[in-house]
Amino acid sequence: MQLMEAFENGAALCQYCTAENCTIAEAMIRREVSRGEMMRDAVMEEMRKNLEVMREAVRIGLEEHVETVSHLSGGEARRLFLYAKYDPFSGGNTCRAAASAMAVCEVNSSMGRIVAAPTAGASGILPGVLIECGMERNWTDDQLIQGLFTAGAVGLLFAQNATISGADGGCQAETGVASAMAAAAIVELSGGSPEQALDAAAITIKNIMGLVCDPVAGLVECPCIKRNALGAANALLCADMVLCGITSLIPFDEVVSAMLQVGRDIRKEYRETAKGGLATTPTGKAVAEKVRRFQSYSGEY
C-alpha cells in the first residue's frame, strides 16, 4: 500500500501499519518525510522543538504567576496541581494531567508561547497528558516525540475527514479531537496496537460528541480552560478502557463521519460565535460587557 493512501482514513492506516509492521507514529514520520519539504532528521528536530515549548508552557503555568489579558482567569492550574497531593477523587495522575492541561491554556490566554494541538484553544490537553504520563512512567523525550507523531496522525485524520475548527464543528472538533489525539498517543506508547490507539480515539470522541463551542465574551478562556482539564481526564480514561481490552462498537472512521455530521448540525450560535450557550447567560453577557469596556478603555493608548 502507498504511504499517501495510508492516511485516507483510519482503516487504511491500520492496514498500512500491519503490512509494514510499524507504529502509527512511524507511518506519520514516513509520510512527513515523503512530502519532500524536510529530511527525517529535520522532521524529528521540529517535533522536539514542539515538545520543548509544550514542556515549558506546562512549567510556566504551574510555577509562575499567570494572568490572562482579560483578567478573567489565571492561577487555577497551579491550585489544582497542588491539591493533587491530597488524595483527589479523580486520582493523582488524572488530577495533575488536568492541571497541566489548564496550565498550558492559562499561559496561552496570557499571550505566552504554546503549540497549537490541534488548535490554540485545545492546546493544553496533549502536553498535559503526555508530560504528566511521561513523568509518571519515566518515558524518554524520544518516546514522547513518538507520542506526538501518533497524536499528529490522529489529528490529521480528523482534519482531513471531518474538521478541527470550533467555528466549523464546535468544541468537539477542538478539545474533543485533542483528547482523541492524546488518548491514541498514550495507548501506542504503552504498547497498544494501531487498532487500539484508534479505538481509544473513537471512544474519546463518542464521550463528548456534540459538545458546543460557546466562549464567554468570545475569548479562549471560559469554558475552554476547564474543558481542557476534562479533555485530559477523558483521554486517560479512554486509554485505560482500551488497554484493558474494551473496544469501540462503532469503528473510528464512522465516529469521524458522525462527528462531522453532528458538527454541521450544530447551529451557528454554538460554533465559536459567542451567540449562545454559556456566552449568552446573564453572567456571560455581563462579563462580555466588562471586557468590551476594558477594550474601549485601553484603546486610548
Binding site: 515549548v53 489579558v69 496570557s110 499571550m111 505566552g112 504554546i114 503549540v115 488548535t119 499528529g152 479562549v220
Partner: protein, 220 residues
Amino acid sequence: MEDFSVFDIIGPRMTGPSSSHTAGAVRIAYIARKLIGAEVSRVHFTLYGSFAETGRGHGTDKALIGGILGFSPDDERIPHAYELAMDQGVQVAFTYSDAPADHPNTVKIELVDVNDRKMEVVGRSVGGGNILITEINEQAVELSGEYPTLIISHRDEPGVIAVVSQVLAQLKVNIAFMRVFRHGRGRNAYMCIETDTPVTKEMQAIIRQLCSGITDMFAV
C-alpha cells in the same frame, strides 16, 4: 483533499491565545512590513468583524504591532509590543470599525516608512494561523505568505509575464504558484508569484533590468 503536514496539527508554535486572532494577525502585519521593505515610522490599523469585537481580549492589537516590528508568531516579545514600538519610534494607531467586511477577521494596515513611502495592505486571518493578503494599494491580490512571494506591478501588455517567468527560470527559481490580476485591459496589472526559494535583492534587480514593463516590485 488538502495535503496537511503533521506540523499543521501539532503546531504552529505560537504566542496565544488564538491562532486566528493572534498568530494570524502577526503574520498579516509581518507581510505588510516585508512588502513596504523599509523601517516603518507610522502605522494605522483598522480592524473589522470579530477582529474589532474581540481583538483586544485576544491581544490582536499587540500581535499586529509585533508583526510590524518583524516578529514571528512565536516571538515572546509580542506581549510587550506597545512598549517596543514606542522605543523604536514607531507611531501606532488603531480603529475598531463596525463597518461590514467580507471576512470576519479582517484588518486594513496603512503604513508609512522612514522614507515617507505609503502603502496600504488588507489581509484576513482564515483560521489555524493561516492568512490571506487580499489587497495591496487598493489592488486585489491573493497571497498566503506560505512561500516566498514576489509581487510585480506592471503594464498590461503582451510578453511581460513570459519574460519574468523566463528570467526566474534562468535564475533557477522554481515557481510554485502564480496569479495575475489587472485593473482593466492595457492598464496596470499585478503578478503574484509564489516560489520555492526566495528571490534575492540581486535577482529582483536583474528582473527589473530585463523586463521593461515593470512599474513596481515587492518581495515577501
